[in-house]
């Protein structure tokens, strides 16, 4: 509550600021000349300080990944259609049995310290993630590689034995190392196979479509990390001061202040035009003023704040759909919500369009199933849109046996009131505002919703560890590959939380990873999304667009698309008169 007040007042102050600040320099002074020139400093911004863990396999904070993205490259990157194309590789091929991918590296690639990039670096990166002493959380992404799932099962087994006090930690650690060494000299040889300095192949037990995406992760320099034990990788200075192959070299991170980067003259896609990038930590409320005064050249902006910069001729707004969406999760242990008719009634009863129109100012899409619009597996036409329809909602509830017997406005059945508690986390303003809207909407169809706002970690413990909830609000941040296995297969932590199971859904999810071609996978995911659209393990809410604001009088060469606003950062340039 306090936070919301604060935000409202801050918003007011900003309005006031912007209202008073119309004396800026006029429009398109910088667009003269279209030949890129070198020079200048690009001032980017983020709203939370990175942790300073600039290690592609150890970082946990999205703000760290902003920097990692500039410093490192992966084997693959995306084109504008979000297909996988070569980055560090020159070409790649998939074997006929769909189990082996072979990459040929570009010759002559160099690390920022001048050392050559070889397949030893690639092999090191992926082996480190699988190593038993690895302290990060990404191992699961590579469980499809040959023999890995078996090794991971052995580790789980050992962990259980330790928990039951059958063996000690030391014994377990030793056995894990044994199984690791066995894997290295067995399946591991074909799982990650550096054939020569420039050729490396990866083999899986079964064809596994999301592997390409997971292999696209940033490659780390073996020569820097090889002298450090995998378990102590976080202590290696290169975790804090990274050395990569990307367009920008890391210079320094002043804690909570800024990250300074300089261009990599040897960048393999072309020498960047802008010599220096300062990635500033900014206050979200102040940043708009800083953008308008020219202190910042780029900021992600809240849909609600777009109005404040829209009229500024120097600012260009770029909108694109996001890889995520928000939902209201359902606990299937709740007798009321367990009924599919009730969930469908809730979908009809909610004014989800109002969330998009009012809270997101139109910068978003109503969601009707799991796949967000930006992912190729999205197919709006095949889904029921659940446009708001109160009489339909009431009919469905009546069908399910819920009637208003005492005319108090709330439905009952067998003496029980149609009622549930909605827990939601603080921190995301749009989500916070959605909760009272849901409560009001559902009251209109006779369902009583009690709201309970919790701090994020508290809520996630309640939901994912204790399952102490009827319904909750949260969001997913997805990636390019549409495989929803981690979220909807009931045998894993995220998938089991609802308690919803569906044999056909499981079958389709598993099939979807076994064929590699998009044209073969798409029908499977479309059918799967339809099941979710009908079954509603979640009440799907909305997907928010990303809105970026850039100084267009200063930053030239932008080619914004699905990859982002600044994806071609090495091609961007600053006109001479703005370089000062």
């Amino acid at each position: 509550m306090l936070k919301r007040c604060l935000a409202a007042v801050l918003g007011l102050v900003l309005l006031f600021m912007v209202g008073c600040n119309k004396s800026g320099t006029g429009g398109d002074g910088g667009t003269a000349g279209n030949t890129p020139v070198d020079g200048g400093t690009l001032n980017l911004s983020m709203f939370s300080a990175p942790k300073g863990v600039f290690n592609p396999i150890l970082y946990e904070d999205q703000y760290d990944s902003n920097v990692i993205g500039l410093v490192f490259d992966g084997l693959l990157m995306n084109n504008e259609k979000l297909e996988w194309i070569c980055d560090l590789c020159q070409n790649y091929s998939v074997s006929d049995d769909n189990k082996t991918v072979t990459f040929k590296l570009k010759p002559g690639l160099k690390w920022h310290d001048g050392q050559p990039v070889t397949t030893a670096d690639v092999a090191f990166t992926f082996r480190a993630v699988l190593h038993p002493e690895y302290t990060g959380v990404r191992t699961g992404d590579y469980s499809a590689l040959a023999g890995v799932q078996k090794m991971l099962d052995e580790r789980d087994d050992l962990d259980t034995q330790v928990k039951d006090k059958k063996i000690t930690d030391a014994e377990s650690a030793k056995k894990k190392m044994d199984s690791w060494n066995a894997w290295l000299s067995g399946d591991g040889k074909k799982a990650i196979n550096p054939v020569d300095d420039l050729t490396i192949s990866f083999t899986t037990d079964e064809p596994y479509a999301p592997l390409l995406q997971n292999l696209a992760t940033s490659i780390m320099p073996e020569h820097i990390f090889k002298t450090t034990e995998i378990g102590k990788m976080a202590d290696n200075p290169a975790t804090k001061a990274p050395i990569g192959t990307g367009p920008y070299k890391f210079v320094e991170y002043k804690k909570d202040q800024y990250v300074k980067l300089v261009r990599n003259e040897d960048y393999h896609l072309g020498k960047p035009h802008i010599p220096t990038i300062i990635y500033k930590i900014a206050n979200q409320e102040v940043a708009i003023g800083q953008l308008k005064s020219g202190e910042l050249d780029f900021m992600p902006i809240n849909p609600a704040d777009v109005e404040l910069v829209k009229s500024d001729k120097n600012v260009r707004l770029e909108t694109r759909p996001d890889f995520g969406y928000q939902y209201m999760g359902i606990n299937f242990d709740n007798a009321f919500l367990k009924d599919k008719l009730v969930r469908q009634a809730i979908m009809y009863g909610l004014d989800r369009q109002a969330i998009v129109d009012k809270f997101l100012k139109g910068y978003g899409t109503v969601m009707n199933s799991h796949m967000p619009p930006v992912i190729w597996a999205y197919d709006a036409a095949s889904l029921k849109p659940y446009a708001r329809d109160l009489s339909k909602a009431k009919d469905l509830l009546a069908q399910a046996g819920w009637k208003d017997k005492n005319a108090d406005g709330y439905l009952t059945k067998d003496g029980k009131v149609a009622q549930f508690t909605l827990k939601y986390p603080s921190g995301n303003k749009v989500r916070e505002n959605s909760a009272p809207l849901i409560q009001a909407n559902l009251k209109e169809i006779g369902i009583k919703v009690d709201l309970q706002m919790l701090e994020f970690s508290t809520l996630s413990t309640e939901v994912f560890d204790k399952r102490n909830m009827d319904a909750w609000l949260m969001g997913w941040s997805l990636s390019i590959d549409p495989d929803p296995g981690a979220i909807f297969l009931p045998d894993n932590k995220w998938g089991k939380v609802t308690g919803w199971t569906n044999a056909r859904s499981e079958q389709l999810i598993k099939q979807g990873t076994k064929v590699l071609k998009v044209s073969d996978r798409k029908p499977l995911y479309v059918e799967w999304a339809k099941i979710l659209n009908d079954e509603l393990p979640y009440i799907f809410l909305y997907s928010q667009n990303v809105v970026d604001a850039v100084r267009q009088d200063k930053v030239m060469g932008l080619k914004p698309d699905a990859r982002g606003t600044l994806w071609n950062i090495w091609e961007l340039w600053i006109p001479k008169d703005k370089q000062g």
Binding site: V9, V13, C20, D169, F456, S457, T458, F464
Partner: protein, 345 residues
Amino acid sequence: MRRVGAAVAVAPAPFCRTLRRGEAVITYTIRRLVQMLPILLGATMVIFLVIKLAPGDPFSGMINPHIDPHKIEEERHRLCLDCPLPEQYAIWLKELLQGNLGTSIRFKEPVAGIIRDKMGPTLALGVTTEVIVFALGIPIGILSARRQHSWLDNAATLFAFGGLSIPAFFFGLLLLKTFSLGSVQIFPSSGYITPGSSTTGIAHFLDVAHHLVLPALALGVTGIAGLTRYVRSSMLEVLRQDYIRTAQAKGLGERVVVYKHALRNALIPVITIIGLELPGLVGGAIITESIFIWPGMGRLLYTALLERDYPVLMALNLMFAFLTMLGSLLADIGYAVVDPRIRYD
């Protein structure tokens, strides 16, 4: 002539008394410091319990389909987050006694280093703010009391109410709008140093000072307003007392009465405030720090709290507990210095 003679005659007595008093204060201080240890130990236990009993842990906020739940369990086990609480506490205490504050779970670096990095900027902001507060708050308070109900007093009262009512963040934004983002741009809008600069020595000091002005003002104005009120009311109280009337009656000038006789007593409550401010000096100010992107302790505490970064939380709270006790001890000693009637035996 007589007065000089009397002064000479009694001189040895206060000297001895001061000496004995000095010894008493030192003994008292040592006794209090020793007493602090068990209290501090108790405090760490309570803090540890409260932090650990809060729902969630450093990993519970990580909700991402690419995060391997088995790996999270492994990490929990490796960090002993699944151990019984007494065992976890014992491990923490043992490390502490060896001078090790632990390694941050989220920053993945030693906690001592993280805190050290924030100490400079936090103290710079805290001390500057306090200096502004006391340098302005005390004189304004005194003037206000001396000229009660004058236009000056009324202006000061108005200012105090304004200063107390305006939230620091709002005032901060107004300062930004006026002095760094509007047509007048004389102060930097954020940060502790100029981004990308690598100045040292005097240039570095000036750079920091330049960045310090707005946040210190934003923080200071509430403090000045509060202190003015304290000093004013305490001064008024003292001025009404008999010994002041006596001093006035024997013909002493107003300056002597106010600054020599009244001020000392009027400052006793101020000493309490100074003592209470000590943990605040290093505790930072989360909202002002966020607005001005000041790399202070307040934001560190806040994010550590949200992320349940236990080692960071424990270290910060231990530090605050210690400073709170130290602050009250210093205030107690300060009383003795100002007020000779207070005895410590």
